[in-house]
Symmetry: C2
Subunit: 243 residues, 2 copies
């Protein structure tokens, strides 16, 4: 007998429970410019950290750690590392794209009240871990799943999250004093926001369009079209007004 209310219940989530999942997925944004300085209550922080800690992990390895960064000097050092990496990045774009590239705000390290670095301990419960045999970076995948869990839980809490990707891992490694077997996976900026943009910023700016799903789905092998339409049935669910 299945207890319909228990965590092990079979069957789909009903009504607003299911709607909440899709709404978090669709309303999540990568936040850089909209941070407020309001502090994050400890119980809210506890909930998003537990959400991350309940990500899937290869061999139940739980390879993640979470470094909560509030100290200004440390965030200043991270921001300086971003500026260096971004100067390199700017020069990689062609001249006609470079001005628009420079117009994008690409991090919120100093504007957000909290930074979180999610790291990967490559030796936890090792050296041999179930499922990390043919593919030695499965534990990296687990850490990224933890990032996404945290991101979605944060969205449900009204918290914006931005992933700082323009930074060298070796700089984060040094600034946060990570031991050699632990490497940074994600450096995140977190805080309440003035608003969540309706669309991803690069889509809204016309940098790159959203690809149609039917061009991304194949049947049985690469290149074999499915001839299916994949209607986005959820749109009405996730944009309807709260009662």
């Amino acid at each position: 007998m299945t207890d319909k209310g228990s965590i092990a219940a079979t069957g789909e989530f009903k009504g607003r429970l299911k709607e909440g999942v899709y709404r978090a997925i669709y309303a999540r944004r990568d936040i850089r410019s909209q941070f407020l300085s309001d502090p994050i209550p400890e119980q809210v922080l506890a909930r998003i950290l537990h959400a991350a800690h309940h990500a899937p992990s290869v061999g139940f390895m739980q390879p993640w750690d979470f470094i909560l960064i509030r100290r200004h000097e440390i965030r200043e050092a991270v921001h300086a590392a971003f500026l260096r990496a971004n100067a390199e990045a700017t020069m990689m774009f062609s001249e006609e794209k470079r001005e628009q590239y420079k117009s994008f705000k690409l991090e919120g390290v100093l504007d957000s009240p909290l930074n979180i670095c999610i790291t990967r301990d490559q030796e936890r419960f090792g050296p041999v871990v179930i499922g990390r045999t043919a593919n030695r970076i499965m534990d990296l995948y687990s850490c990224v799943c933890a990032v996404q869990n945290l991101w979605l839980a944060a969205r449900a809490e009204g918290l914006g999250v931005g992933w700082v990707s323009i930074i060298h891992d070796r700089d984060v490694q040094e600034i946060l004093h990570l031991p050699r077997h632990v490497v940074p996976v994600a450096y995140l900026c977190i805080g309440y926001v003035t608003h969540f943009p309706e669309k991803p910023e690069l889509e809204a700016a016309g940098w790159i369009p959203r690809l149609p799903l039917d061009k991304l789905v194949f049947c049985d092998q690469w290149g074999k079209e499915c001839k299916t339409e994949w209607p986005a049935l959820h749109q009405e669910i996730i944009t309807r007004k709260d009662k």
Copy 2:
């Protein structure tokens, strides 16, 4: 003015909307043994694929493709590749662990009605992509976020998902005819289930315990304890009975 019901609404999700997000995160399982053969309706499949497609992606690169695998011969080839990789893996465990290792069922390739391979196109909108400059594998991270979105949406739909990690990428590459610039990220087995286990199987089997969160959280730098308790306040929310 913020429309409280729109996707851009600021503030936390209310009531069961928020509960749904946490419930999906806590009730998600890596499924290997509980698959039913019931087909997955096309509109449900459309919803979980759109959920994956709305993952965050570096530079809005959307580097993912989705190969839906139903043909038996292809799944047989994948299963054979798993058996080869698992034979290698078995020998990596010490003799005293090997018998227990062999007792675990580690994939559901043939038992599930649908397999999905999520791949990574390293050249999409390239060669220079915003945010994939200091770190060239940011697009891999995007693909893993898509996996986790699909996994959580599937859980809300009552669908189990299992990630087949014991397989060599080169085998999947060849079986699915992937071009050189596209690599497999996740090979997933998907279907309705008899039940979702209450706990992760390796935790329930006593292979590895769940780590306490307070041992995984540091403040400002590696090794600096936070002296915070991180209460798991959500447990009552996600296990309470439906009304």
